[in-house]
Amino acid sequence: MNVRRVLVLARRVIRQVLRDRRTVGLLFLAPMLVLALGAILFRADPVRFPLGVVNEDLGSPTLAGKMVLADGIVEEMGAGDTFDLVTLAPTEIEDRLRDGTVQAVLVFPEGFSAGFLANRQAELDLRLEGSNPTRSMAIRARVTEAAMKSLAGLLAGGMGVSGAAQAGSGASSLPVTVKASYLFAGEEFDTMDFVAPVYIGFLALFFVFLLTCVSFLRERSLGTMERLLATPARRVEIVLGYMGGLGLFALVQVGVILFFTVWVLKIHYLGSLGLVFLVIALLAVVGVSLGILASTFARNEFQVVQFIPIIIIPQALLGGLFWAVEEMPGYLQPFAYMMPITYANWALRDVMLKGWGLAEIWPNLLILLGFAALLIALGSLTMRREVA
């Protein structure tokens, strides 16, 4: 082995990398960007959930006077920084859950206090919005916790309900149970069911983006783009032609992914798979246009790979894949709104978790179409740069 040759070769490699300034910059900046985003999202203060309360508890007379146990529980729940309480009338429950202004509603019937004192058993009637299983579980846990704490305090105070206190101290927990009902999705939906719709969309976008970016780049580096532009073909025709060709593969891919997630991984879903397919197809169209636009700014395949940390990963982090956009810190939300994937995610979740149809999700589809049109226009415009 000749050490000198190794060193000469190493020097050549270093020189080449240094000459590609963008690579050098990204080498350091991209990991920091991705790490910072992750840190912000993981460390973000948990958001306060808007929780509706329907309190019809009439209370119950005890030795210490009339007691309304529901009031105590509500007070306990309002004290923490988990919930923003909203007092609702029973007739409002479904509408408020549907429009998302409350995430859950806790209903105390007239006989709540009386029932607890008689049976030493509190059953909480919790109505959940349900489309985010993780959130549903969190709400459920916190509601239970608050109720236990409130009732424990009550019993510890020995306010004439000593029987319950004895029963409670013996058991590992107070006899509080939650009877949960779900407006959307349901108890059987887990985190995978929440992530899956978006996962499918994201993967489609990702692969179509890379495929387009590299094909377009190759067209340029082989000089065929130059030849193509010296024919009557217009730039927008070239972009649309690519969309037709690569779009076909994107659609087949989407079909396969859908089949796999639904029939092999057996995720739970509601709504129409046809509509899911339509949303993802739209997202694939966006992916092709984004790829064409991005390829203009890449000189080689290496620079295409660099788009992953700066274009793809932020879309995964900010587009609502794991964190719902509404739960992100406020200053990150505008970035989420700038990303096409966010709208696809909303549409996909509305269909697969809420069972919604075209009538409800069309605004998101329209925005996706808008993104596609804008990107096609930008891609055609920047193609001038193709010819170097």
Binding site: L222, G223, E226, R227, A230, T231, P232
Partner: protein, 238 residues
């Protein structure tokens, strides 16, 4: 005779570099016009200006009576780039057919004819990736002529091909010209330039002199065309 290609005081500057510097050109129908000049003299830039791939810094280009850039006119123009610009994972035939279709559509017969002209009929089904450099060059030429253009722009078409193939190319060029096609051929090879009807000496983006090879040689009082070029370049003539 009408001018098929006409430029008026054409300039193309890339920053401080004047790639094309006040060039006025007029090429007639059926003419084989040669652009002779060293590497970096602005020949390629000029051709790219002619097909509208570049926007002139100032000046005008008109092709077949149409002021450029005009996309539709390109259906009547053939363009062969310096490096063969082909789709590596398509066959020779698929490449030729594709570029023909992009220029307004061609028949099967036209594709076959173009491939036969460059003598590639037996390799028509081979992937471009698998054929030799000379075959690529020939495929490239077939792509440029398949739609039977009225104007053919060839950027150093015979660079890197063997003398035999070069002779084939030239006999083909002459046949095209005889049938009324106008050809503009750039080259830095003197021997090749002599085969053109008319020659333009290009240097530093300027047209030094223009005329039939023999006229240029005699005009410069030189023994060879090469010598003539050098004399014009030094500004020793006129």
């Amino acid at each position: 005779m009408s001018a098929v290609v006409e430029t008026q005081d054409l300039h193309k500057h890339f920053g401080p570099i004047r790639a094309v510097d006040g060039l006025s050109l007029s090429v007639q129908a059926g003419e084989v016009y040669g652009m002779l000049g060293p590497n970096g003299s602005g020949k390629t830039t000029l051709i790219r200006l002619l097909v509208g791939l570049l926007k002139p810094t100032s000046g005008e280009v008109s092709i077949l009576g149409q002021s450029m850039p005009a996309k539709e006119i390109l259906a009547r123009v053939g363009y062969m780039t310096q490096a063969s610009s082909l789709y590596e994972d398509l066959t020779v035939r698929e490449n030729v057919a594709f570029f023909g279709e992009m220029c307004g559509g061609v028949s099967r017969g036209q594709v076959d004819e173009a491939i036969a002209l460059v003598d590639l009929a037996d390799r028509a089904g081979s992937l471009v990736r698998t054929v030799s450099g000379g075959m690529r060059q020939r495929t490239s030429l077939a792509c440029a002529v398949v739609h039977r253009p009225q104007l053919l722009l060839l950027d150093e078409p015979t660079v890197g091909i063997d003398p035999q193939l070069r002779a084939t190319f030239w006999s083909y060029f002459r046949r095209l010209a005889a049938s009324g096609t106008t050809l503009i051929i750039s080259s830095h090879a003197i021997d090749e330039a002599e085969r053109c009807d008319r020659l333009g000496f290009v240097r530093q983006g300027k047209l030094l002199a223009e005329g039939p090879a023999e006229e240029l040689r005699v005009g410069a009082g030189a023994a060879t065309l090469e010598e003539a070029f050098l004399r014009y370049a030094e500004g020793g003539v006129r």
